[in-house]
Amino acid sequence: MTQGSLLRQILEYENRHDPYPLYAELRKTPVLNDGDGAYVVSTYHEILSLLHDPRVSSDARNMTRAAGPDLQQQEEETALPPSFIRLDPPEHDRLRRMTNTSFGPPHEPRRVHEMRGELGGIVSDLIAGIGSTDRIDLVEEFSYPFPVTVICRLLGVPREDESRFHGWADTLAASLDPMPGEDATERNKIAQKARTELGMYLAGLIEERRRNPQEDMLSELATLKGPDGSMTTMELLSTAALLLIAGHETTVNLITNGMLTLLRNPDVLRRLREDPGLSVPLVEELLRFEPPVQLVPNRTTLADIEIAGVTIPKGASLWLVVAAGNRDPLRFKDPDRFDPDREDIEHLGFGSGVHSCFGAPLARQEAQIALSELARRLVNPRLLEDPPEYRRNAVLRGPRHLPIACDDIMP
């Protein structure tokens, strides 16, 4: 097997249900240059070190090798400026700080904590709405609508518009997948169009919120005046689009991967049913074992970086395969075992460093409540297909459908 083909295999759809043997193969070369320009990093310590390395940029404008020109063009043509996930400090820090003023401490220390009751209510309603217990598509009936409802309420986006932005979110999520050596022009065009349309949709909402502010994040961000000033309309649109997409495309996988993993580990499922508190360490282990974001594909180097005996040249494209790092036997004992009692659990599931997941505390609470309630209320749940059908995405990886059955649903 050549090195190039290993990468292709990871991206190939037929391996989506279980990329972990390929990641193990990948880890034999901690920093792998695939020949198409990208440097793929797959071992825990190297990934962690690069996530904290100020010579690593998230700004596509610094990408001078490999996929560079296309991306540059994309940024110039697109209607929206890059969101903070694709910016470096200080712009990244400023936008993230401002966004955080309406989400978390120090300005809004209780917002996420106080959502617990509301989250429980949404979960309860969704479980009550499950139709036939002979065949439940957990994705359609539960793990997709749950986080979408949450992010819509949090941002102040009407839930009934979901059919409109669902498609844009899916298109943008798919555009994250790297396509080494292939012409991405067509795909980029489609992604730009989705981004522009999503931006226009959000612009209408924000205009409305400026006139008539509500108790939601869009209103607060639109009217924000703080030590960092205010967001421009374009910054606000980029930020809102980022949050909406992230709320759509990640937690759904965390919950679905979680239920799939529990159904494959019935002992753990039984324990969770008896002790909902187990959901707390369990979700951390899940973020290690089946992280919803498998790799971070959009970083580049501002200087030559020597790591693991390899010199990554300035301007190179970096892929940090966090899902492989999470299974690195040099870091985690018995890494391929799902063990919610694991004490040593500094996983990379939410990344690390300045770009670590903005929505992490919300995702944690959503997954804890969702999984403990599913465990408690579904009687004798079982998988109808294993492996289930996966979505195409390699970066935001998870089942497209998860058909399960159960005997009954507890009140």
Partner: protein, 464 residues
Amino acid sequence: MPADGHLERLKREGRIVVVGASLAGLRAAETLREEGFAGTLTMVGDEPYEPYDRPPLSKGVLLSRTTADHTALPRRRNLDADWRLGIAATGLDMAAKRVRLADGEEIEYDRLLIATGVRARPWPHEREAELDGVFVLRTRDDATALQKRLADGPRRVFVIGAGFTGSEIASACREREISVTVAERGAAPLVGALGGVVGEVAAQLQRENGVDLRTGVMVTGLEGDSAGRVRSAHLSDGSSVETDVVVVSLGATRNTEWLAGSGLGAGPRGIACDAGCRAFDIRGIVTDDIFVAGDVARSPHPLFGYQFLSLEHWGNAVSQAETAAHNMLCESVDRRPHMWVPAFWSSQFGVNIKSVGVPSMGTEILISQGSLAERRFVGVYGYQDRVIGAVTFDQARWLPFYEHLIETTAPFPPPFPTVDRRPEGARPVPADFPDPSVPTHGPTVTLSGYSPADRRMTFTPGRH
């Protein structure tokens, strides 16, 4: 060799005495039990409290977010120890292997760990120090007393010394909207630890937050009223400040007096020990059964020219205690060196200040990320063309990168661009320490390896 049997017996039924029941003593005791010590463990502490955490005393306690009696440290495990709390150790008989206590008791040991730490340096004029309203801040009792006085709403607090503790006290006062004057002998706050460039930022922070900061002055005297309450402080510039609370924050004195005459290498600078935490006697010969950890220890550090470093750092206490405890229970070949890279933090005026390495050895500083004016930056310190330390203001997530540069004796100034590099980060400037230390030249040591658990030492030739 009978040593194996000896160690087995020590672990099974030996007697270990830990003098000093604070952070280092506690973590050492836990490690001893974790590593299988099943014998008699005696914990001696001069304060009548279980081991407690000191950093909150100058932050959360003064802000009344918590109280000093709520700072007892959590335990990693059961210790099954005999506690002698509220009873100071008063003497050591190395030949008889006995520790004497203030109540006359003598405790025999097979292994002794000394972790007696430091105490606040008092105001040197005894009668002035005894005035009502004059405080130091080091212990639980100190913090309880000061918190109570701040809660009474004093008209002004006068802080002598703008090191980390003094600055944190000033910060707490301002947050409580109490007027505060800080008198500092140096040119700026924190200047001894972080140099003048960063000290200037700390000075601006204080002034912007309403601190009446007086630098380059000494306090010449404290004056009391007829009732024995402090009334004012006199400064070397001829001015005086009316105040009803004075906090003396002039650093610390090592608790080694109880070892006078014992034959152990203990003095005002601490207790010298080898990298394996074994204490030296006064002849410079290393002992086999006496170990040292925490603020009271001075040990040679391979990253810093094998200078003996004594570090009043929370993390050093934990790390050195764990190393000492491990080494107390094993053969010499299994002993580990204490190679902790110095690190500390402080929070003041809503800013998180963190540091790694030894900035005070630095002669130059480069603001490699962010900006001094914005109070969000990374400063890298250089000494003899290598990176020797780093400081961050609200930029802590980058610090592990700079710690790695220090561990690998990376060149200074770092020859690469970074994100968030500003014009002020184009070239290094003098770090502006008031009294630069001049360490010796010699071979340097780099640390490498996957994790702190399997660091290997590699000798590399010195650059000079």
